[in-house]
């Protein structure tokens, strides 16, 4: 969305305490999530989501068994 000429992106966040490495987000949205050497999820970059990937971000959130993903818009 554009506010006064500034583009504000949707942002995703992974709670490292809650993530248990189910790997659903990395499987569903590898453009947005990566996994570390232990198989736990990390967001790519600063977690900003390009508009065309917003549905993917929501899908990843809806498939996390541990409710470890949050989205701020």
């Amino acid at each position: 969305m554009a506010v006064s000429g500034i583009v504000i992106f949707m942002k995703i966040h992974v709670d490292a305490e809650k993530c248990q490495g189910h790997n659903r987000c990395y499987a569903l949205a590898p453009e947005l999530f990566d996994v570390d050497d232990y198989g736990n999820a990390v967001v790519i970059g600063d977690g900003s989501v390009a508009p065309e990937l917003e549905d993917r971000a929501r899908l990843a959130l809806a498939n996390c068994p541990e409710f470890a993903i949050t989205i701020s818009e």
Partner: protein, 408 residues
């Protein structure tokens, strides 16, 4: 069907359930649905006292509660194993915090997604070889056993290669799996002898790896350090038992149940054949609806759990498959929808004990389905439902699944 003589059939699932009764796994969905509506935490005097929660809320609550429940034993049996918390007999699945995470961190890297992805060509080749060996029977119009001759053979082959154990011992591994997971009704002295046989086998394999260390998980476990020291032989052996036992029966069951579903649902089968890109989504739905693994805990402290007086050393079954079928959490929970996009299922558990091998299990399951339906785009159950043999105990899946391949 159970392996013991002193088993008595269940008459009432709410007050006398026994997951070693062959009727339990065969009718599990109906039993859980009935209990969820009438008695969400069932109790049985069997195995010295066992609880069975059937709602997602309760299963989740127990999975996250490592204070009131210990993992030091995770397979319900007549005698509680002597291995003390927080390590238990098969770390890290039998370990509690704070030890648990340290033991788990040793095994997470070899099972992380990017390490497991590398196995894809090997798994695919294995599936194709198994399918090749069925072609004569198919050509002559005979039925094939999709559980015993296909699903079962995939994980046992992969894990024995990962551990660096002789491939010629595959049938022995299947006996060990049966002894540990299905022999739960055995008298303690019989069970002891069977478990001892497994332990002796593992010790022999460890000794062989001392002589010939190589690039496999057994040598890896013998080499890693925890708190600045090499692992004890008990720890190494316990972890190997975990990898060997937990990796075989579970994946075999998931592949078998998925093929059982497709044998019953020609529309779903045709849809996946026409659009293989849907298979990963369908696999998640099969995992939800036919989750193979029920874990267990021991009560660590006397406490009241939603009106249930739980006492120290009571067993508690954690039926993740029942949680996955809870209509409060999953819309149309009793329907298998192979395009279900939002699927927060807990087939691999919840909390700190999330299945270590989940990435490998998913890989094997996905490729097994892809290859099977690619080779046999149309198949159905051969015979009747009575010809399907289901497992007994905490791991649920078909042990014999006769299917008939149909001409295109």
């Amino acid at each position: 069907m159970t392996s013991t003589e002193d088993f008595t059939p269940v008459t009432d699932w709410a007050t006398d359930f026994d997951h070693a009764d062959p009727q339990y796994n065969r009718n599990a969905h109906a039993i859980w649905a009935e209990l969820r509506g009438t008695c969400p935490v069932a109790h049985s005097e069997r195995y010295g006292g066992t609880w069975l929660p059937t709602t997602h809320e309760y299963v989740r609550e127990i999975a996250y509660d490592t204070e009131n429940f210990t993992s030091r034993a995770v397979i319900v049996e007549k005698m509680i194993p002597p291995d003390p918390a927080p390590i238990g007999g098969a770390p890290p699945i039998t370990s509690d915090p704070p030890f648990h995470i340290e033991a788990r961190k040793l095994l997470l890297p070899p099972f992380a997604p990017k390490k497991i992805e590398l196995w894809e060509p090997e798994v695919r080749k294995l599936c194709r070889t198994l399918l090749d060996s069925m072609m004569d029977d198919v050509a002559s119009g005979k039925s094939i056993d999709a559980a015993a001759d296909y699903a079962k053979r995939i994980p046992v082959n992969v894990i024995s290669r990962m551990l660096g154990f002789p491939m010629s011992d595959e049938d022995l591994f299947l006996e060990f799996v049966h002894d540990v997971l299905e022999g739960i009704d055995d008298a303690p002295e019989i069970r002891f002898v069977k478990i001892e046989r497994l332990i002796q086998y593992i010790v022999t394999q460890i000794e062989e790896h001392v002589e010939n260390p190589r690039d496999d998980l057994t040598s890896y476990l013998m080499d890693v350090e925890l708190f600045g020291s090499k692992l004890s032989v008990e720890h190494i052996g316990g972890s190997i038992i975990l990898l060997l036992i937990a990796g075989i029966d579970t994946t075999w069951s998931a592949i078998g149940s998925s093929l059982w579903h497709l044998a019953h649902n020609p529309d779903d089968l045709a849809r996946l054949v026409a659009d293989p890109s849907l298979i990963p989504t369908a696999v998640e739905e099969f995992l939800r609806a036919y989750a193979p693994v029920t874990m267990a805990r021991l009560v660590a402290k006397d406490h009241d759990f939603h009106g249930c007086p739980m006492k120290v050393d009571d067993w508690v079954l954690l039926p993740f498959p029942a949680a996955n079928l809870d209509p409060k959490v999953f819309p149309d929970a009793d329907k298998v929808l192979i395009d279900r996009a939002e699927n927060r299922h807990s087939a691999f558990g919840l909390g700190i004990h999330r299945c270590l091998g989940s990435n490998l299990a998913r890989l094997e399951l996905t490729i097994a389905i892809e290859e099977f339906i690619n080779r046999f785009p149309s198949f159905t159950l051969a015979g009747t439902e009575d010809d399907v043999v289901w497992s007994v105990g905490q791991i649920r899946g078909p042990r014999e699944l006769p299917v008939k391949v149909l001409a295109q």
